[in-house]
Assembly symmetry: C2
Homo-oligomer: 451 residues x 2
Amino acid sequence: MREEPLSPVNSDSFSPATSRQSSSTIRKSPSALIGLQCHLCKTQFPAEASYVCGQCLGPLEPVYDYRAIRVTREEIEKRPKNLWRYLELLPIMDEPLTGLHSGFTPLVRCDRLAKRLGLSELYIKDDTVNHPTLSYKDRVVSVAATRAVELGFKVLACASTGNLANSVAAHAARLGLEACVFIPDNLEPGKVLGSAIYRPTILAIAGNYDDVNRLCTQVADRHGWGFVNINLRSYYAEGAKTLGFEIAEQLGWRYPRHIVSPVAGGTLLPRIHRGLRELREVGLVEGELPRIHAAQAAGCAPVVRALEAGLDHPEPVRPNTIAKSIAIGNPADGYQVIESVRTTGGTGAAVTDTQIIDAIQLLAETEGIFAEPAGGTTLAATIELVHRGVIQSGESVVVCVTGNGYKTMDVLDGRLAPPVRLGRGFKDFEAWWESTNGAGARSSSSTQPVA
Amino acid sequence: MREEPLSPVNSDSFSPATSRQSSSTIRKSPSALIGLQCHLCKTQFPAEASYVCGQCLGPLEPVYDYRAIRVTREEIEKRPKNLWRYLELLPIMDEPLTGLHSGFTPLVRCDRLAKRLGLSELYIKDDTVNHPTLSYKDRVVSVAATRAVELGFKVLACASTGNLANSVAAHAARLGLEACVFIPDNLEPGKVLGSAIYRPTILAIAGNYDDVNRLCTQVADRHGWGFVNINLRSYYAEGAKTLGFEIAEQLGWRYPRHIVSPVAGGTLLPRIHRGLRELREVGLVEGELPRIHAAQAAGCAPVVRALEAGLDHPEPVRPNTIAKSIAIGNPADGYQVIESVRTTGGTGAAVTDTQIIDAIQLLAETEGIFAEPAGGTTLAATIELVHRGVIQSGESVVVCVTGNGYKTMDVLDGRLAPPVRLGRGFKDFEAWWESTNGAGARSSSSTQPVA
């Protein structure tokens, strides 16, 4: 698959109101944003709240004047440790307003896990501790919320079943924006509460996620609210690039050989790809792009199935998996995911719910990191790719873990060994200890390599 | 209350095996640790797994050769963003082994919350996103676990009811150490699971927390396991200093006027005090120490009651509060807490469970940060201190929030407004919208100042 150029052919055709050239003297932000462009037919638009091309209905994405970007590695390294350190390549016009502590999450070198997988250089990109709502959504919402304020929206909204709603509600609270979260009415009470604490308006819709999404599109059109994943989607999606930027910077301004990303609506994977290409375009990183692989649950794997069948567009499926946060049967950006995977020489892997649970446990017991099922999916897919020989032992691998397991503990109910019950006397302890032949506090975990 | 000197009178009396002077040529770590010393009678001991003075039964604490420390602000600022950036003042002899992504959590400036409280400069020190287990315990466990390996322990253990067990299990997993977690047998299944995922041995003891703690003391003596909060307590507690170091550094190497800290077993508050004094001792920060205030739940406030009654030692109480993570009726370091509060001109505040819930909600709806009940306690105590005039409007305040609300969602069940339920048609939405007179997505939160 041919790589499209990153730079626009003609930056003069964008609206002057959002052009860097015409307003650089008054703006505080160094963003090189010049407008939006259709991903398919390349028609250009000003940087407004547009998300669909008027010509061909393709998705719009921001365009930057890469030639104007002069930032160095050293300048970036001196900036605050948040997602805005790559401001030149983010689609806002003024100062960041939220996300001042979001992003720049740990890239954790995992030697014990690597050994179990038969690898030598393995990292977890760990968004389980993203500020403030413990998932990668704090990146995309920070960007969408800041742009929403710039564009004059008074209400920040989304259609969601979990992490996104948490993040929208939290960032809106911090900004003092009204928030309205649309959810299917059969959500677990715990997930509702994880948004309700920030006191948004929560509308529970009698229908499934697709129904909710359809309603939100109508509300966005009629009421002019800023839906982060609908009319603000072009900006929102750019927040996901920061995960790619950080991987390269945290590796010492180099690319790994492989990146494994979860796929839900398809926002993240293509933007990791785009972010990595942009770093090369502006001269910050050299070398060959990594192979980017798509991880999905077998119970909801439209992109992996499309990759296997040689299709350009995924066929919608009906989700049936414990990995709720990535259970999107009809991914909005599925086409772009497939394009990025093929362009980089990546592949896809779909894994069962049992493999997902096993991977959550493996990551916890080897590295002390507790992932939600989406993270278990990504690690399980990585193991699958090692088994298949796609990832080989001497190659560097980054596994993206995008949400925290403490938010989804229900999936583990009844699946972990129960505690040992003892009386409170020292003799009770000693009796147990002797019954184990002095091996009582030895972990019951397997010491066999899994790969 | 008189301030004791920080530097030991005679550093030559410490064991040469742990003395910096005698081994500085071979050690990789720049720690200035020279031994342990009784907090009460000042008797000196080598840096072993000792925690009680053989002379007077007082608690032992590490002693450093402050004169040997030459580190500058600039050198510290260049180091990795984790709790080990203050290595000179931490009690390990070699390289850090865990916690390489723990600590250096956000200090969040909270202008919206400040306005609601009638303050001008308010910060949340936000350990809700500490890596990897979302509480301040990742600091103390990182230090205790590293020292446990140095001292040759094969099993890492603790007595705990929640956050500490999570953190011990996670850090032990990462180190490949055996872990054994002792808990009361009536713990909520969710809390057990939050440790079990890392696959430690979990011993559920038929008794309350005091029974568990007593048993652990016997096991530590008999089996030589490393209990982070018993025989490794001297080292463990030093990890809490890093929270104080970070506050000063993140404020631009200055002290705030007030710090409000939760009090449970009493580890944290005196070590924040100690850390701040040490920064002055080694020349990194100048000025007057902040007033440090103790926050407790009214249902378990032995330290606040002792402060009110003018006692030096808290009288044990039987806890009855939703703030389980700070529900320790007989705090091990209660004496030191009272000493630090009095020395700095601080005070105490005890708050009801209703105030705690209200404060959790206030923090979430103004700043998008979701605290566990201990964090709600600290913020509610801060509000109380503002009401009392102890904290005044022009003074800078740092509020320590030490654990994440996503781990304790059960306390909010039934206390938040339920979602609005709607049909899936656009007309259903419009009918609701009209019923609210176009104010549908307006937050229901109060806009009244709380102070």
